[in-house]
C-alpha cells in the first residue's frame, strides 16, 4: 500500500497516492484537467501547457507536478480557462486546421477542447505555415499541417510499440515532426496498427482508407464534451 496524500482542487479535498502527479490524482477523483500532450500509459511530456494549474498560487503543469500533501490547487477558474483558450488558439493559428474537411473531426481532441472551452474562432491571426505532407507509407498518412508537436506519437512509438519511428527536428517556430528515415515514413518500420498512430490527438497521423467511417452523430465528441467521461466516472460511483 502506498501512502495516501490529501490535497484540494478548487476547494474540494481529493486523495492521491504517493508518486502520482496532480493530473493523475485529479483524474482518479473525477476531476478533469484539460490536456493534450498527456496520455494515459505514456510518460509525462509537459509541452502543450493546457494542464497549467495554480499550485499554492504558482503556475505549474499538472501532468509533471507530483501531488504533495496539503497542496492547494486551482483548476477550473476563469483565469485558467482564459489561459487555456489562449493556448488552444495558439495551436490552431500555428498550424493549418480545416475542421470541416478533416476526417478526424468529431474525434479530434484539439477541436473538442476548443468546443469545451467555448471557442468559436481564434482570437489570434493565422500564421499559415508551410508544412510538409508525407504519403510515402502504404497505410499511414502524415499531415504536419495538423501537428501540434505534443510528442504522443514519439513516446507511444518508443514506450508502447518498442520502435523509434518519430522524433522532432528544428527548433522554435521551425520545430517539426520527423520520422526515422531520410525517405519518409515509408522507409521506417511503422505499421498502421501501431499505438503511435492511434495516439495522435489530431488528424496529423491517419490510417489510410478508413476515413469518415463513423457517421456524424456517432463520433466520440458528438454528444458530450471532452473530459466528461472522467467526470461521469466519478458521478456514477
Amino acid at each position: 500500500m502506498s501512502e495516501r496524500i490529501s490535497l484540494t482542487i478548487d476547494g474540494h479535498t481529493i486523495e492521491a497516492r504517493s508518486g502520482q502527479t496532480i493530473l493523475e490524482a485529479a483524474q482518479e477523483a473525477g476531476v478533469y484537467i484539460p490536456r493534450l500532450c498527456w496520455m494515459k500509459g505514456l510518460s509525462s511530456f509537459g509541452s502543450c501547457r493546457l494542464c497549467t494549474v495554480r499550485v499554492n498560487g504558482r503556475s505549474q503543469s499538472a501532468c509533471t507536478q507530483p501531488a504533495v500533501p496539503g497542496m492547494i490547487v486551482e483548476n477550473d477558474t476563469e483565469e485558467l480557462r482564459e489561459l487555456r483558450r489562449s493556448l488552444i488558439d495558439m495551436l490552431f493559428v500555428e498550424g493549418n486546421h480545416f475542421c470541416m474537411f478533416c476526417e478526424k473531426s468529431g474525434d479530434c481532441e484539439l477541436q473538442a477542447l476548443a468546443y469545451r472551452l467555448g471557442i468559436t474562432a481564434p482570437q489570434y491571426p493565422f500564421l499559415f505555415p508551410q508544412r510538409e505532407l508525407d504519403a510515402s507509407h502504404p497505410d499511414i498518412f502524415v499531415d504536419r499541417n495538423r501537428c501540434i508537436l505534443c510528442g504522443r506519437c514519439v513516446r507511444a512509438s518508443q514506450e508502447l510499440d518498442g520502435k523509434h519511428v518519430f522524433g522532432f527536428v528544428g527548433r522554435g517556430p521551425e520545430k517539426r515532426l520527423a520520422v526515422n528515415a531520410e525517405s519518409g515514413l515509408g522507409g521506417t518500420d511503422a505499421a498502421a496498427e501501431d499505438e503511435a498512430v492511434a495516439a495522435c490527438p489530431t488528424g496529423s497521423l491517419l490510417a489510410k482508407r478508413v476515413g469518415y467511417a463513423v457517421p456524424v452523430g456517432q463520433r466520440r465528441f458528438d454528444h458530450q464534451p471532452i473530459g466528461s467521461e472522467i467526470e461521469r466516472a466519478q458521478s456514477d460511483e
Binding site: 497549467t52 495551436l91 500555428e94 527536428v169
Partner: protein, 609 residues
C-alpha cells in the same frame, strides 16, 4: 568518396568510445572534418552508435552552428544583437553582400564564403563584431569587413585566417600564444572579488583543511547567490546536491553566457581561468563530485586551447586529478564540453541535456538537477562568476565577502555594459550600487533608457535610475545596455522578440507560438496600423506566455514587451490610431487584392482609383 565519409565518421565515433552521450562532440568533430553533417553522415553516425537516425538528425537540426548542408570554408557570422545593430551591423551586411555577391544565409558558388547572422557572440562592447569560423573579429569599421574579405580572396589561403585578419592582439591574455585574439578585455573597473590578484591553490588549500560540510557552511555564511541572474543561494544548492542520493555527483560550470549584451565571462575566462577552476575544484570537494564540466559556448571556442592548457598546468601541479592538493581520497578533474550555438543551453536543465548529447531542450522539474541532473545523477550547475566568488570566499573568508554589497546581495557583480556610452566594457561593482552611478561611470550619453539584465530583464527609464543593482531591486545577470534619446524603443523591443523567437527550443506552446504572435502585433503597431485595443492584447498575451511557459526562456521572453508597455507606454501610444468608422486600419483592401489582380490581369470590382 562515400567510404571516406564512412571512415571519418567511424574514426570520430571510436574516439568517443561510441558513447551516445557524446553525440554533440561527435557531430561537431564530424562537421569539422567534412564541412557539415549531411544526411549520409547522420546515417553513419546512427549506425556507429546504434541509435535511431532521427535522434541524430534531431540534434543536428537544433544547434545554430551545426549544418546539414555544406558551408563556405570561411563562415562569416555577423552579430545581430541590439548593441551591434546600433553600431551599424546593417552597413557591414550591405558591404559584405556586395563584396561576396551573396545574401545573408547563402554560400558563394565557389564554396569559399558563407554569410549569416549570429545571436550575441559576446562582443557587444566592441560592436559591430563578427565571428569568422572560430575567430573573433571585433570593431568592424567602414570598409574593414570588405578589406578582410578582399585579403582572403587575394591570398587564397583560407586556412590562414588568423594571420591574415588579425593585425593586433588585444590586451592581457588576448595576446597569449594560445589565444592570439583581437578582442580587448575592456576591463574598466576591477574589484576585489573577481579581478584581484590570486595565487594558485590558495583557496583550495584552505578548503581542503576543512570538511566538505564546513566548506558548504562557509559558502552559506557568505550568503553567496548565483550570478547567472536567478540568484539562488549557492550554499543551499550544494547542500541539496550533496544530500541527494547517487553513487556519483557532478559539478557543471555554466560558461554559456548567451544573454545579448553579456560578455563578462569572456573576460573571466581570458584573465582568471585559474580562479574559476579553483572554485570548481572547491565545489567538487564540497558536493562530493569527482568530475566537473565546463560548458563552453561555441562562440568562445577561441579560448578552448588556452583553457585546456591551464587545466594541464593545474594537473601538473596536483591541483586536479587524483588526491587533489595532496588530499587522500579526493579525486577531481574537469572536462570542457563545447556548445554549438543555442541560447537556451544557458538554462541549466537544457545545458544538462546538451552535455548528455541531446537537443538543448529543458527538462521537466521536478526532479531538479540537484536530485537528478547530468546522466541522472545529482548535479550542481553554477555560473562562471559564482564559482570565482567561491574561490575568493575560501581564500579571504565569508565575513570579508559578506561585508561587500548589501545584506541580501553580498559581494560584487560584474556588469557588461554596452550601447550608447563612451566607456563600454566590464565593471566589477559592489551590489547595491545605483543605476545612475553606473550610467555615470560608463559615460552614458544622455541615457533615455537602460536595459537591465538583457532582453530577459527589463527596460527602465529615468524614473528608475535611482534604483539599485541587487537581487531585491534591479536583478541582473550582468548585461546592461544603454539607450540614448534618439533610439526607437519599439524597434529595440522587436529585435529582442526576434531573438527569443530564434532561440526558443519550440518545446512548449506559449513560447513557441506566443512570441511570434507578440511580434506580429508589435510590428503592426510599428507599421502605423495599431489600435488602442492592441496594447491590452499585447499585455494579456505576454502574461499568458509568462504564466504558461515551461522554462525561464519562455517565462521571461515577453519582458521586452511588458516592461516597455509599463515604462515607455507613450512610445506605443503615439503610434496608435482609433479605428475609423469601425474599420480596422490594418486591413488594406487594395494591397490584399493586388496579387489576384496581377494574376488575372484585370481590375477587381472593388478597384478604386
Amino acid at each position: 568518396m562515400s567510404t571516406t565519409r564512412e571512415e571519418v565518421v567511424s574514426t570520430v565515433c571510436q574516439a568517443y568510445g561510441k558513447d551516445r552521450g557524446r553525440l554533440l562532440d561527435i557531430a561537431r568533430d564530424v562537421q569539422e572534418k567534412l564541412g557539415c553533417v549531411d544526411g549520409k553522415s547522420v546515417n553513419h553516425i546512427a549506425e556507429e552508435l546504434s541509435i535511431p537516425r532521427v535522434e541524430v538528425a534531431s540534434l543536428v537540426s537544433f544547434y545554430s552552428f551545426l549544418y546539414s548542408e555544406p558551408q563556405g570554408q570561411v563562415r562569416i557570422h555577423l552579430c545581430n544583437d541590439v548593441p551591434d545593430m546600433m553600431k551599424g551591423t546593417a552597413r557591414i551586411v550591405a558591404e559584405l553582400e556586395e563584396e561576396l555577391g551573396i545574401q545573408v544565409g547563402e554560400t558563394t558558388p565557389d564554396g569559399n564564403f558563407s554569410l549569416d547572422f549570429a545571436s550575441c557572440i559576446g562582443l557587444s562592447d566592441q560592436a559591430p563584431a563578427a565571428l569568422v569560423n572560430d575567430l573573433m573579429v571585433p570593431r568592424l569599421g567602414p570598409g574593414t569587413a570588405r578589406r578582410g574579405v578582399q585579403i582572403l580572396k587575394e591570398r587564397g589561403e583560407l586556412k590562414e585566417l588568423n594571420r591574415l585578419l588579425i593585425r593586433n592582439h588585444g590586451d592581457g591574455n588576448n595576446a597569449h600564444d594560445l589565444v592570439r585574439s583581437a578582442c580587448s578585455n575592456n576591463l574598466r573597473q576591477a574589484g576585489e572579488v573577481i579581478f584581484a590578484d590570486m595565487d594558485r591553490g590558495d583557496a583550495l588549500e584552505k578548503a581542503l583543511a576543512m570538511s566538505p560540510v564546513e566548506v558548504i557552511r562557509e559558502i552559506k555564511t557568505s550568503r553567496l547567490r548565483g550570478r547567472g541572474g536567478a540568484g539562488f543561494p549557492t550554499g543551499m544548492k550544494w547542500e541539496f546536491t550533496r544530500a541527494a542520493e547517487g553513487d556519483r555527483r557532478y559539478l557543471i560550470c555554466n560558461a554559456d553566457e548567451g544573454e545579448p549584451g553579456t560578455f563578462k565571462d569572456r573576460v573571466i575566462l581570458t584573465e582568471r581561468p585559474d580562479l574559476l577552476f579553483e572554485g570548481m575544484t572547491v565545489g567538487g570537494y564540497a558536493i562530493g563530485a569527482e568530475k566537473g564540466l565546463v560548458y563552453l559556448r561555441a562562440e568562445y571556442a577561441y579560448l578552448r586551447e588556452f583553457l585546456e592548457h591551464v587545466l594541464d598546468e593545474r594537473r601538473e601541479l596536483g591541483l586536479l586529478g587524483e588526491s587533489v592538493g595532496g588530499k587522500e581520497g579526493f579525486n577531481f578533474d574537469i572536462r570542457i564540453q563545447m556548445g554549438a550555438g543555442a541560447y537556451i543551453c544557458g538554462e541549466e536543465t537544457a545545458l544538462i541535456s546538451s552535455c548528455e548529447g541531446l537537443r538543448g531542450d529543458p527538462k521537466n522539474r521536478p526532479p531538479f538537477p540537484a536530485q537528478q541532473g547530468y546522466l541522472g545523477k545529482p548535479t550542481s550547475v553554477n555560473n562562471v562568476e559564482t564559482l570565482c566568488c567561491v574561490a575568493r570566499i575560501l581564500e579571504r573568508g565569508s565575513g570579508w565577502f559578506a561585508s561587500i554589497g548589501t545584506a541580501g546581495s553580498t559581494g560584487t557583480k560584474l556588469l557588461s555594459i554596452s550601447g550608447d556610452c563612451m566607456r563600454p566594457g566590464v565593471y566589477e561593482v559592489p551590489f547595491g550600487i545605483r543605476l545612475r552611478q553606473v550610467l555615470e561611470m560608463c559615460d552614458a550619453e544622455e541615457p533615455m533608457a537602460a536595459q537591465v539584465g538583457g532582453p530577459s530583464g527589463k527596460m527602465v527609464g529615468e524614473a528608475d535610475f535611482d534604483r539599485t543593482i541587487c537581487f531585491d531591486d534591479l536583478a541582473t545577470g550582468g548585461a546592461l545596455m544603454v539607450f540614448g534619446r534618439d533610439r526607437d524603443v519599439l524597434e529595440i523591443t522587436s529585435q529582442f522578440l526576434q531573438f527569443f523567437i530564434h532561440e526558443s527550443c519550440g518545446y512548449c506552446t506559449p513560447c513557441r507560438v506566443g512570441n511570434v504572435l507578440l511580434q506580429e502585433r508589435l510590428d503592426k503597431i510599428r507599421a502605423g496600423y495599431g489600435e488602442p485595443s492592441d496594447l491590452d492584447y499585447l499585455q494579456r498575451l505576454g502574461e499568458s506566455i509568462k504564466m504558461a511557459s515551461r522554462c525561464g526562456l519562455g517565462q521571461t521572453s515577453p519582458n521586452p514587451v511588458l516592461s516597455t508597455l509599463e515604462n515607455f507606454r507613450s512610445a506605443y501610444e503615439e503610434r496608435l490610431s482609433a479605428p475609423a468608422g469601425g474599420e480596422h486600419s490594418s486591413f488594406d483592401l487594395q494591397s490584399a487584392l493586388s496579387t489576384s489582380r496581377a494574376l488575372t490581369g484585370r481590375k477587381s470590382v472593388h478597384f478604386e482609383e
